[in-house]
Subunit: 204 residues, 2 copies
């Protein structure tokens, strides 16, 4: 399986999108070919049904669906993969028990990146690349740190955290596989247009 380059869209309902499905649609219309369904709470059945709906939309656009944290929802909604962060299930155990899924891991340092890949991660979300006003206490990798992560591992690395349109060329120059974005698209006046701008900035 080959992971798509460029814009990695993460669903969130905190901005313009009223639902996770609407957030996914914005990213897909904007050219993203990998979507992470990230919903932190709610009844499991509702999450499965919603993730399935997002998955159908992803398939219509030739995109992959990754579910944040919830391996049960990923399996039951027939998602392509799951993304596990530091407080989620351990990468190696998910890999061992749920063989069919793409498994993504988070890394905030070279050490975490190497460890995640050693445990079987298929890709990494590395960050925060830049300081974020909403998450001021996150460790910041910077472009140099991102480059060191990219050079330390052989799997695709998506840059996350404080990513703006202006930073896309510099991020791409590190060898990163793509950029994971939430608010830079979903909080924009015209979110689909913002997503398209990321896609074009990456491709161009």
């Amino acid at each position: 399986m080959r992971l798509p380059r460029g814009l990695y869209g993460i669903t969130d309902t905190g901005y313009k999108a009223k639902t996770h499905l609407e957030a996914a649609r914005i990213f897909l219309e904007g050219g993203s070919r990998i979507i992470q369904y990230r919903r932190k709470s709610g009844p499991t059945r509702e999450m499965i049904e919603e993730a399935r709906a997002v998955g159908r939309l992803c398939r219509d656009h030739g995109a992959l669906l990754i579910v944040d944290d919830r391996v049960d929802v990923a399996v039951l909604a027939d998602a392509d993969g799951v993304h596990v962060g530091a407080e989620d299930a351990p990468v190696d155990e998910v890999r061992a028990r749920f063989g069919g899924l793409i498994v993504g891991a988070s890394a905030s340092s070279v050490e975490e990146a190497v460890d995640g890949v050693r445990r079987g991660a298929d890709y990494l979300g590395a960050g925060a690349v830049f300081p974020s006003p909403t998450k001021p206490d996150y460790e910041v990798l910077g472009l140099d740190g991102l480059r060191r992560v990219v050079e330390a591992v052989r799997v695709p690395v998506y840059a996350i955290g404080g990513v703006t349109l202006d930073s896309v060329p510099a991020i791409r120059a590190t060898g990163a596989w793509g950029v994971a974005v939430i608010s830079a698209v979903l909080a924009a006046d015209d979110p689909v247009r913002a997503a398209k701008a990321f896609t074009e900035a990456w491709d161009g």
Copy 2:
């Protein structure tokens, strides 16, 4: 696999027990041989680790561990089974995807009981048997309803909802497999003693 009769203990930290592990210990010391780990929120990794600790204690006492709702936690913590309610993953889909697990379903009527078993439930939690002051809007089965459920299905039926020590003989007389209890044990002055009283009332 044969499900244990008698007291089915459900962990809750809303009463005397400070942790789910402590709640499980109370039920196990009181003679329960089937424990449901029911935690509604928290980081997945913490839930897996906690469920594993509860599972070790269960094995020490020859008891089964069932995880409420979270199939991912059940699999990753090596639990014996999962219990899915109306807002959780559908019984048949869990059965189809997670073959190794015992799957329990909830039923508040004969129709739901028959449907749950048709979808592959290994056992049922049927209730509310009695009105509960904390859940006044729950549909009440009553002893007659419980008996109709028991007669309608071939799987073990645990009675749940408003169960008190005094009601154990009448519940047992319906043909129910056991009684699922939370507050009647965990809110007691001496919870282990209360659990033992349920076990003795059932056996005696």
